[in-house]
Every structure is written in C-alpha cells, then in structure tokens.
C-alpha cells in the first residue's frame, strides 16, 4: 500500500479503479474487524459466511452459524428490526440491512446487523424523564390542592377538639370525623393517579380509544390545573381508534394542559376536543384522503406570535422565566405525534388564545394497520 497517501485522498469518493488497488486480504480484514455483524446467506436462507461481530450479536461461534437455516433476511426499505435471542442472554434489538450480492458466483444476500439495544434503552430513559418532567410541572397545582386539603384538616381537627372538650357524646363529632375521612380519600385519589402516571411503562403502541383515555385523564387535570381553570370536553363519538402509546398521549396532553395553564395565568377555559378529520394540506402524505382522529387542546390564554410558533417544537425553547419551564414539553408532544405517524398544527393569535391540533392516523386505515 502507498503509505504516502494523505487524509484528503482517502476521503475522496472511492471508485472502482481505486477499489481494485486494495488487496483481497485487506477487504477481508475490514469485514473481519468491523463492529457491525456481517452475514452472507444464500437464497434458501442458509448462512454462508459470518464475521466475528455477527457471531457475537447472534451469540454463537461463527463456525456454529455456518449452514444454519437462519432464513432469508428481508427488509422493507432500508432496514428491518429483529430481536435476537442469545442462548442464556438477554434478547437484543438489532437493526438489519439487506443487500443482494454475489457469493462464489451465485446470488446471495448480505445482511449487516447492528445491535441497537443501548440506543433503545436510552430512548426509553428519555421518555421516562419527559414524563416525570411533565409531572414535575404540575407540582404548583398539586401543592395548591394539598395546601387546601391541609387547611380543611386543620380547621376540622380544631373544631373536633372543641366539641370533644364540650361534650364527647355530641352526635356532630361523628359527622365531623366522617367528613374528614371523606376528604382524605380526595387526597389519596390524587396521589394514586399521579403515582400511576409516573410509573415506568415500556413504549407499547396499542389501539386506543382517544375519548375514553382523555376522559380518564381529566379527573387529574381538573384537580391540578387550579380552580381558576375550567376544563371542558367536546369529544366526538365519530373519532376513530388510533394506534399509539397511550402513556405518551397522557404525557402530551398533560404538557399541553400545563402550557395552557401558564398561558392563561391560572384563569380561563381549557377545551379538549376530538373529531374525525381528513388532512388534505400535508405535502408529505402519500394518500391525501387518509383519515385521522384530531385532538385539539384549546386555551383562552395570551396566544403566541408567528415568530414564537415557528420555534415552539424545538427542544429547550421556552418563553417562561428561568426555573419555570425547560422547553421540553412541546418537543415531547411533537416527538410523540411524529412517532405515531401523525401531524401537529398550531393556530394561535396574540391576546385570543392557542389551539394545538394533534392529528393521529386511524388504526383501521391500511397505512396504520402495521
């Protein structure tokens, strides 16, 4: 090899004439040492070659893999994701690319394998922290609620103390105790709902009835947004079921509700609407007649200027003061909707309020069925 070659030359696009200058053993060395698993499989699915990384990813020695009827690797578009089950080990998430090659003069398939378990785990942790953050943002409302509850208890107990001192057999004593017990249930219902919400759950898309999910969430919203904010629901029965992770939907709605609360400075109306809709103005949609369920979260707050709307989905963008917002709420909403193959639209007018529309594809449509 020419040791005089500089970096710039190496970075130049490789053409065939240059490839012929690299010896076969050099190629072999590259394949044998790459971190990606490389498998060559014949058209009947039997393994013809495995590099050391492929052996490691699949949890078998490369000798054991030879001639094994692994199956013909098949990907749609660029890649496919498979789960590898290593003997005695944890399953690994693996991204597989497939290209057609010729091997010993016969057609064959080359599958390159990349272990993406670590990346997946990282994404999972990020989702969890986004959720916890949304819970954290509700803290102000919850603290307010609990302070009210504590005030009720304090005055109730003082009253009880007084009555007991006057007449321990006063029938009002029992009524008062009953009332205070009932109030404790309010408090524990709230904490149970929060705990259930912040519990770690794996991402699992499932066919979800939006109306039902939103209804179950509003009891939490009602109690945590503060008494100045009225939550109204306008749920259309015609909205279709969607294939989404319901846990992430909760986080998204919570994020939108907290933003709305802040935009309304604690007083106003938060409306959550659903309906069935058709998106016609989205260029990237192949099928412009695809049906969607729309969720609209509308507030009567201060609204946003066009310049601000242009940036709101960027991570860490916030209009709130230091220590009040992290700027990650709407980027979670955006990430969730895009991951669910949906779209987000914003209508906002300064001084009038903001409507955020989430369009999620109907699970019954063929594009969403997989």
């Amino acid at each position: 090899m020419n040791t005089e070659r500089g970096l710039a030359e190496v970075l130049e696009p490789v053409d065939d004439s240059r490839l012929t200058g690299i010896s076969q053993p050099s190629f072999r060395l590259l394949i044998e040492n790459t971190a990606d698993g490389v498998l060559v499989v014949d058209l009947s699915g039997a393994v013809l070659y495995a590099n050391p990384a492929a052996g490691k990813i699949l949890g078998h020695s490369r000798e054991d893999l030879l001639h094994v009827p692994l199956g013909r690797p098949i990907a749609r578009g660029e890649t496919a994701e498979i789960t590898v089950h290593r003997p005695g080990g944890k399953p690994a998430e693996v991204e597989m690319r497939v290209v057609e090659v010729s091997w010993d003069g016969k057609p064959a398939l080359l599958a390159s394998l990349r272990d993406i378990s670590a990346r997946r785990a990282q994404e999972e942790r990020q989702r969890q922290s986004q959720k916890l953050e949304a819970v954290g943002r509700l803290a102000a409302g919850i603290v307010h609620d609990f302070n009210n509850l504590i005030a009720v208890f304090e005055s109730g107990l003082r009253l009880l103390e007084k009555r007991l001192a006057q007449d321990p057999n006063d029938p009002k004593v029992a009524t008062l105790i009953e009332e205070l017990l009932r109030r404790t249930q309010n408090g524990s219902a709230l904490t149970h709902r929060l705990l259930a919400f912040s519990r770690r759950q794996v991402l699992s898309p499932q066919v979800t009835d939006l109306n039902e999910r939103i209804r179950s969430l509003t009891s939490l919203l009602d109690r945590t947004l503060g008494s100045g904010i009225r939550v109204e629901l306008d749920l259309d029965k015609a909205s279709c079921p969607v294939l989404i992770d319901p846990d992430q939907l909760d986080t998204a709605i919570l994020n939108l509700a907290v933003n709305a609360r802040d935009a309304m400075a604690g007083a106003g109306v938060l409306t959550i609407e659903t309906s069935r809709d058709v998106l016609s103005d989205v260029e990237e949609l192949e099928n412009s007649t695809a049906s969607f369920s729309r969720i609209t979260v509308r507030d009567t707050g201060c609204g946003m200027s066009r310049e601000i709307v242009a940036h709101v989905f960027e991570p860490f963008f916030t209009t709130k003061g230091e220590g009040e917002g992290t700027g990650l709420g709407l980027s979670q909403v955006y990430g969730f909707v895009r991951q669910s193959e949906g779209h987000v639209h914003i209508d906002s007018e300064v001084g009038r309020g903001t409507s955020i529309h989430l369009f999620l594809p109907c699970s019954s449509s063929p594009t969403a069925a997989i």
């Binding site: 009947s44 699915g45 039997a46 699949l58 078998h60 094994v68 009827p69 692994l70 199956g71 013909r72 690797p73 098949i74 990907a75 749609r76 496919a80 994701e81 498979i82 789960t83 590898v84 089950h85 399953p91 693996v94 597989m96 497939v98 991402l203 699992s204 898309p205 069925a369 997989i370």
Partner: protein, 103 residues
C-alpha cells in the same frame, strides 16, 4: 414449488410465525400474519409461537431471531427473517398464489 405442509385438521398448508413478546416488531408481524391469511382467503394457517412463552419450541427449531416466518415441515426449514410486510414477496417465497384481488 410450494413446499408447505398440509395440516391434518383442514388440509390447509401451515406455517409458523415466531415472535417475542409484545414488541412493536411482534405487533407488526402479527398484523402482517392476518394480511397474509386474508390474501389467501383463509386457505393458510400460520401458527404463532411466542418464544418467550414457548422457548423450548424455538430452541428445538433453531430460531436465532424474531420475527421469523417458517415452514418447519421440510428439511431444511424454509424461513424468512425480518419484515414480512411485502405480501407478494412472502407468498412467492413460500410458493403460494394470492387469491384476493387487492394489491
């Protein structure tokens, strides 16, 4: 060219779909299983084997990764591994002609 077995119960050829748990990949594979059966007007059986529930069967069959769609009735077994959403490709590989009129 069809090498699939005939199941004893109703004479329909049968395949096995090996999946693992309830991952998004497994869900996609199950949705594609339904589409495959529909494409053959129900004249195909695809038994689902969750290898987390029945690991011994996967081990016996030598399944290294999921989703794998397999005709285990022949030797060596005929298998596809990865994304089985292209019905035409999948059916052709196992030697079936689709019967429905849609794409």
């Amino acid at each position: 060219m069809s090498a699939a077995s005939l199941s004893a119960s109703n004479g329909h050829p049968s395949l096995r779909l090996y999946i693992a748990g309830e991952t998004p990949g497994a869900r996609r594979a199950l949705a594609n299983r339904r589409r495959l059966i529909k494409a053959l007007d129900g004249a195909l059986q695809i038994e689902v084997i969750d290898i987390l529930v029945r690991p011994e069967e996967a081990e016996q069959a030598g399944i290294l990764a999921t989703p794998t769609l397999s005709d285990d009735s022949i030797h060596p077994p005929r298998r596809l591994i990865g994304d089985i959403s292209n019905l035409a490709e999948v059916l052709a590989y196992f030697g079936y002609d689709r019967k429905d009129s849609t794409r």
